[in-house]
């Protein structure tokens, strides 16, 4: 890389970092200070995590292909392990570890 290429790359990273930060900071900037947060925003803040975490679950599995059994079956089985184990024991770490290990075993050894 030449000198000017390095400078441009550094600037690119800084711009991407700055935009990422500003997006994350936006609600804190708008609803800062001592004035009370509008009721509607408080309501959104309360219900959004439920919707967003639901969205993130789907986002993680969006590339599943139902055309290939070896692709979707490990997801279904490991997903069921996570859900059932969590309903039964309600131990977050246990559900995650058991689900991940079963998924890894399924994709590495079975399918």
């Amino acid at each position: 890389m030449t000198h000017s290429e390095i400078i441009h790359s550094v600037l690119l990273v800084l711009v991407m970092a700055l935009v990422s930060f500003l997006l994350r900071a936006f609600p804190f900037i708008v609803f800062s200070g001592k004035k009370e947060t509008p009721k509607f925003v408080t309501y959104l803040g309360k219900v959004l995590p439920y919707a967003i975490i639901g969205m993130l679950v789907i986002y993680c599995v969006k590339d599943i292909s139902f055309a290939s059994v070896s692709n979707f079956l490990p997801y279904i089985i490991a997903g069921a392990v996570v859900v059932l184990l969590h309903i039964w024991k309600r131990n977050t770490l246990l559900s995650i570890i058991a689900g991940t290990l079963s998924y890894m075993m399924l994709v590495q050894l079975v399918f």
Partner: protein, 231 residues
């Protein structure tokens, strides 16, 4: 040690993210080094940008040496959902002082899920310190994973196929926990349904349309059930 309890709880809560970030970060580091950007770049990017899908996209942005404006727009599109994450944390992060800047900087999907998951912080006295430590640990795992990936490149191979499922399992567990501990499941149903719908229509670009539908649906929900939510 004075804050032993907070440190231990934050560490245990963030363990799934440890596994996920080391694996995903490593993948990023390997990819970045194939474009001629070494460990120092992986370190620089993971410290300043701290975002999974964004850093993967940044590899192409750097390789193609695009304009600053187009890099800014791409970031805006990929990370747009983060615009709404802070809304849920205005109260939780109130009074954190200078720490707030760091808490904001480290607000990834995974950190957001952990700090929203109240069941993980039951019994923690100093909540602000706990949130800070969870964010800090997540950041450290990511920096470590990215840098190691760039250092070792494709020379190292350990059979970790499928380890990235750990982040899916993390979101799914928190989802199930919220489902069980909350009598009002409509917001969760709205999130899942709009995400499924948008995945079918927009494929990998589903995040922004999903966020928009969620916002509209939750707004409608409040007006339909004003009596319930206006308390």
């Amino acid at each position: 040690m004075k804050y032993k309890h907070e440190i231990r709880r934050a560490f245990v809560s963030s363990l799934p993210v440890f596994a996920g970030y080391i694996a995903l970060g490593f993948g990023f580091g390997v990819l970045l080094s194939t474009q001629g950007y070494g460990a120092i770049w992986a370190l620089f990017m993971s410290v300043t940008m701290f975002g999974g899908s964004m850093q993967y996209a940044a590899v192409d942005i750097l390789a193609d040496s695009v304009s600053l404006l187009s890099a800014a727009i791409t970031t805006l599109i990929i990370n747009a959902r983060h615009l709404f994450y802070g809304i849920s944390l205005i109260e939780k992060y109130k009074g954190t002082g200078f720490k707030k800047i760091y808490l904001i900087h480290t607000l990834t999907d995974e950190t957001y899920s952990l700090v929203c998951a109240d069941q993980l912080a039951v019994g923690v006295k100093n909540k602000h310190l706990y949130y800070f430590l969870v964010s800090f640990f997540d950041h450290c795992y990511w920096i470590l994973g990215c840098t190691l990936g760039a250092v070792f490149g494709s020379n190292v191979s350990f059979n970790s196929e499928g380890i990235d499922f750990v982040l899916t399992a993390l979101f799914l567990t928190i989802f199930v926990e919220q489902w069980m501990s909350n009598s009002d499941r409509t917001p969760a149903v709205i999130g899942v349904c709009s995400a499924v719908l948008c995945t079918l229509i927009f494929k990998e670009n589903m995040l922004i349309p999903t966020m928009l539908i969620i916002l509209v649906a939750l707004t409608v929900l409040r007006f339909v059930r004003r009596d319930k939510y206006d308390t």
